[in-house]
């Protein structure tokens, strides 16, 4: 991995990201932010969590630093490390430390994927101490008053082994996300991919068909993200059945029978 130089001021979002509120999530987030409480976004993949964070960063006029967690991510990837420059060692802040210093919003996506030692640095930041221990340089970094920590977590497909620990989850204000109801989801698709309402409507219907199959052959139904992808292909002139196959069915399963069934379902709609 190449180390990157982070300049938090580059992470301001200047144009309003389109976000369609589904409930009172915007108000709750704002209240949490005012009270310096960390936030946990729960919900299935592709239901608008990342988009919501971008929107909130824009609303609150704070830079947004997003870290996608993976199973090689360690605490020092978040906090920082030494580099050598011109024969001297130089300390380089990791994304979390940079956010803490600059008063940015730090969004740790899929936090349970990270190695367990990351919780050690998240915990003191997520309670009223609001400090980041920087072991390597023996410092304790106190968070800027504007700093905000948000993490996301998909309870659906994680195995028991990777469940979020109670001691972690009980530090956060939880916002539950789910796929929006049919009308809103249709509106999102129309907006994101510029397709006609009728087309968006059918795509939502198709999504519901796949969601009906969750647990009986599919691990997950089609997410809003996949619908947007299919709609973009359709907008570009691809036949709807082909678009659904490429953008949605193939993403959902590799099982031959299941694929056939899902493709038959989309073919029956268009």
């Amino acid at each position: 991995m190449e180390a990157r130089i982070l300049k938090p001021e580059e992470y301001f979002i200047n144009e309003e990201p389109y976000y369609q509120p589904v409930g009172d999530e915007i108000e709750v987030f704002e209240a949490a932010y005012r009270n310096q409480l960390p936030v946990l976004l729960k919900g299935p993949t592709g239901c608008g969590k990342t988009r919501f964070m971008e929107h909130m960063a824009w609303r609150l006029k704070r830079p947004l630093i997003t870290v996608s967690c993976h199973d090689d991510l360690t605490a020092s990837d978040l906090v920082g490390r030494f580099l050598i420059k011109g024969g001297e060692t130089v300390w380089l802040d990791g994304p979390l430390a940079a956010a803490v210093r600059a008063g940015a919003i730090c969004y740790l996506d899929e936090v349970v994927e990270a190695r367990k030692d990351t919780t050690v640095v998240i915990h003191p930041l997520a309670d009223d101490r609001r400090v980041l221990p920087m072991e390597k340089i023996g410092e304790l970094l106190e968070a800027n008053a504007d700093f905000c920590l948000a993490i996301s977590y998909n309870p659906g497909y994680q195995s028991v082994l990777k469940d979020l620990k109670q001691s972690t989850r009980q530090r956060f204000i939880a916002l539950e996300f789910d796929y929006p109801d049919a009308g809103l989801e249709q509106k999102i698709i129309e907006n994101e991919a510029e397709v006609a309402p009728e087309m968006a409507h059918r795509l939502v219907k198709f999504a519901h068909m796949t969601r009906n199959l969750k647990g009986s052959g599919l691990d997950e139904g089609a997410s809003t993200r996949l619908l947007v992808h299919a709609a973009k292909l359709i907008h570009d002139g691809v036949d709807p059945v082909v678009a659904c196959r490429a953008a949605i069915a193939q993403a959902l399963t590799d099982d031959a029978d299941m694929l056939t069934a899902v493709n038959e379902l989309s073919a029956s709609l268009f």
Binding site: M1, A3, D71, T74, S76, R81, F82, L83, I84, G87, T89, R115, K136, S159, V160, L161, A182, G183, H201, K205, H208, M209, T210, N212, L213, S216, G217, V241, D257, M258, T260, A261, V262, E264, L265, A267, S268, L269, F270
Partner: protein, 707 residues
């Protein structure tokens, strides 16, 4: 390859004598040999090969096969003859000798069906697609099953075993799909909301009335499908044309015009029955099947009661849960209501919201399914459904289908409920016997006798060192040196680099140390031989070894499971749960290990298939299946003895391997036979002379697999 030479009758007869066990059966093989001698060399080879393979299953079938072989060759090509023979053997497996022989005798019937099958679709092959197809559609989740007629009872869609109305296979599949959609539409769009049974019973010409209603309803449902699934509707119209059913009698369209409106109901169709009775009806397409009002009524009555009970019991649970949050325990319980939000995108025209004291509460998934189903039957959720059940009012058990207990299979009549069916490989046929083995998972009998504690004391020294061995394999942070980036400075590298710079060399950028953690992510399944031959010291050794293993593995924190296997025939393969992956190693598990006793025979293939199936369900990067056995093949009764069992086991191991499972076998008896290395491969097999060595062996396997 040497060219085949034609054999003479004298050369053929001894072969037949041998395969047909003429010594004991006194069959006359002379005539057969003479007939075979007339065939070409290639035909002879083909027929003789199959004769031998069939004889390994049943001599009589093979004998009759040879009798028919000359005719068979004149009627069918070799591929089709193979299909014929395999079908006969499959049917023999499933239903016995007589039905099996019938297939061989009725060769003409097979030829006729064979033609159909070539372009037709077979239900068994398409069910894997049809089921998810119908379950993806909205509303109550229907099942699909093979039946004698095409119809639905409002919970199950019955379809014919073969669909062969059209000459093209693809079209026949579409016919299945059309049937599924049409029958789904009956359930979804309220065909059964009218009391058809009563209406028909009261009608002077019941059969005719039913036919008229069916035709009218089909027109209404067609319009529903056109609105809901336009793509499928187009396809169905094309199918009708291909079937020659597309034309409708004059005036039909205007009679049914009202039924194609969105608001039209089954009651509207019923009202039209007397108007069309006596006039010509459009043809019933094969996919439209038939209506069976009595079947529907029976299923519906049960369902209404069951779902009312389910809903009311769940509401009671919700109420109880909320009570715990309320301060005032005496306050009267809240009132449940449903609110309808208009939504024209669903057939009902509204979505349902559950309210408690006027406040919307989230609906759990299972409640949602029940409510959807009730809505589909009644068009509404009646008030009496929304009263939480009183204490003890319902015994939900009474409403569920009677579940048979896998444990008392042999108690009453034999059943396969709660059992797992697995294929078995028949190496002589070079084919699987379908759903051949019946595997049951049973709880192990615990024996709380302090056995595990005694083992720990007996081997305490050994355990000490074992723990160390295993600890050394724990997830360890390893310090990587000379890294491009890292958490610390690698002083050695730095000094070197510094020196390099001073003598004018380029400075290396590998100056850091970094902690790296290798997370082992393993799931191990121990499969313990509980067959009769392990009785005595081998059984004792297995149990001791398991305790030592468990104690050692606990230090690693890896997930592991222990299952025992035994059984007495293909219909009775037993798997005992000693420790599942989720269970902790506690007193109960220790008692179950102690309770392991020698049972009957073994069918290793079935056990491997079942335990691989369980392994497939766990999430782990590396999966191990370790068999503990005494390696004695004599156990195997009947046909599983000898090569057959060995080859099936090999095949089962191969299937496991394909799924990324590493299989190993450890035998405890030195006298283990040489067939085990043949099955597992020499590298994956070990003989362990004494129990103490066993955990070490496992740690070896671990190291090999993870490094």
């Amino acid at each position: 390859m040497a060219p085949l030479t034609q054999l003479t009758a004298d050369q053929i007869q001894p072969l037949l004598d041998d395969w047909f066990e003429v010594e004991f059966t006194f069959r006359n093989t002379g005539v057969l040999a003479a007939a075979l001698a007339q065939m070409s060399a290639g035909e002879q080879a083909f027929v003789l090969d199959w004769t031998r393979r069939i004889a390994s299953t049943h001599v009589e079938i093979s004998f009759q096969f040879v009798e028919q072989s000359t005719r068979a060759l004149s009627l069918m090509d070799e591929r089709m003859i193979e299909a014929w023979v395999l079908q006969a053997m499959d049917i023999y497996d499933r239903s016995g000798l007589y039905p099996g022989l019938k297939v061989i005798r009725e060769i003409d019937l097979f030829v006729r069906q064979g033609r159909e099958r070539a372009s037709g679709c077979v239900f068994e092959e398409e069910a894997g697609v049809l089921l998810p197809f119908v379950q993806g559609l909205s509303g109550r989740k229907l099942k699909v099953e093979q039946g004698d007629h095409t119809f639905t009872d409002s919970e199950v869609i019955f379809l014919p075993a073969v669909m062969a109305h059209l000459p093209d296979k693809q079209d026949n599949f579409k016919l299945y799909k059309a049937a599924v959609a049409h029958l789904w539409a009956q359930a979804r769009f309220g065909t059964f909301r009218v009391d058809l049974e009563q209406y028909i019973a009261a009608h002077p010409t019941p059969d005719l009335a039913l036919r008229c209603f069916h035709a009218l309803e089909s027109a209404r449902l067609d319009a529903c499908i056109a609105r809901e699934l336009p793509g499928l509707h187009r396809e169905m119209a094309l199918l009708r044309e291909k079937l020659g059913d597309a034309d409708v009698p004059d005036g039909w369209t205007s009679v049914t015009a009202g039924l194609t409106r969105r608001e039209a109901t089954a009651a509207d169709a019923l009202r039209l029955v007397d108007k069309v009775i006596g006039s010509r009806l459009p043809a019933t397409s094969c996919y439209q099947g038939r209506l069976k009002p009595a079947e529907v009524t029976a299923v519906l009555e049960k369902r209404l009661q069951r779902e009312q009970a389910q809903l009311r019991v769940t509401l009671k649970l919700i109420e109880d849960e909320l009570k715990e949050w309320r301060e005032d325990e005496e306050a009267p319980p809240g009132k449940f209501e449903v609110d309808k939000k208009p939504d024209m995108s669903v057939p009902e025209g509204f979505q349902i919201e559950l309210l408690l004291d006027g406040k919307s509460i989230p609906i759990p998934d299972d409640v949602q399914d029940t409510m959807t189903s009730i809505l589909q039957d009644l068009g509404d959720i009646p008030d009496e459904y929304l009263v939480p059940a009183g204490a003890g009012e319902y015994e939900l058990k009474d409403y569920e289908e009677k579940r048979l207990d896998p444990e008392d299979v042999w108690g009453g009549t034999y059943h396969e409920e709660g059992a797992f069916l697995y294929h078995e490989w028949d190496f002589r046929r070079k084919h699987y016997r379908k759903d051949w083995c019946v595997v049951r998972e049973l709880p192990a009998k615990p024996s709380h006798d302090g056995f595990a504690d005694r083992v720990v004391i007996k081997y305490r020294r050994l355990l000490g060192s074992l723990r160390k061995t295993f600890e050394a394999m724990r997830d360890e942070d390893r310090l990587l040196k000379r890294q491009i980036y890292g958490d610390g400075v690698d002083i050695d590298a730095f000094v070197e680099a510094w020196a390099d710079v001073h003598v004018g060399l380029e400075m290396s950028d590998r100056l850091f140390t970094r902690m790296h953690r290798d997370e082992r992510n393993i799931a191990v399944m121990f499969m313990v031989d509980m067959s009769g031959s392990t009785k005595g010291w081998v059984n004792e050794a297995e149990r001791e070894a398991l305790v030592l293993m468990a104690e050692s593995l606990e230090t690693l924190g890896d997930s592991y499971a222990i299952y025992g296997f035994t059984g007495s025939s293909r219909k009775r393969c037993e798997i005992y749960r000693i420790k599942t992956f989720d269970e902790p190693y506690d007193d109960e598990v220790k008692a179950r290990i102690s309770g392991i006793e020698a049972g009957d025979y073994t069918r290793m293939g079935a056990a491997i298939r079942h335990l691989s199936h369980l392994l497939r369900e766990v999430e782990a990067r590396t999966k191990l299946l370790i068999t503990l056995s005494d390696g004695k093949p004599e156990d195997y009764p009947d046909q599983y003895r000898g090569e057959y069992g060995v080859e099936d086991t090999r095949q089962a191991l191969y299937e496991a391997h394909r799924d990324g499972i590493h299989a190993f076998c450890i035998t405890i008896d030195e006298e283990g036979q040489d067939y085990l290395p043949h099955m597992y491969g020499a590298a994956n097999y070990a003989v362990v002379k004494d129990v103490e060595k066993l955990p070490l062996k496992v740690s070896d396997i671990y190291k090999r697999i993870t490094s």
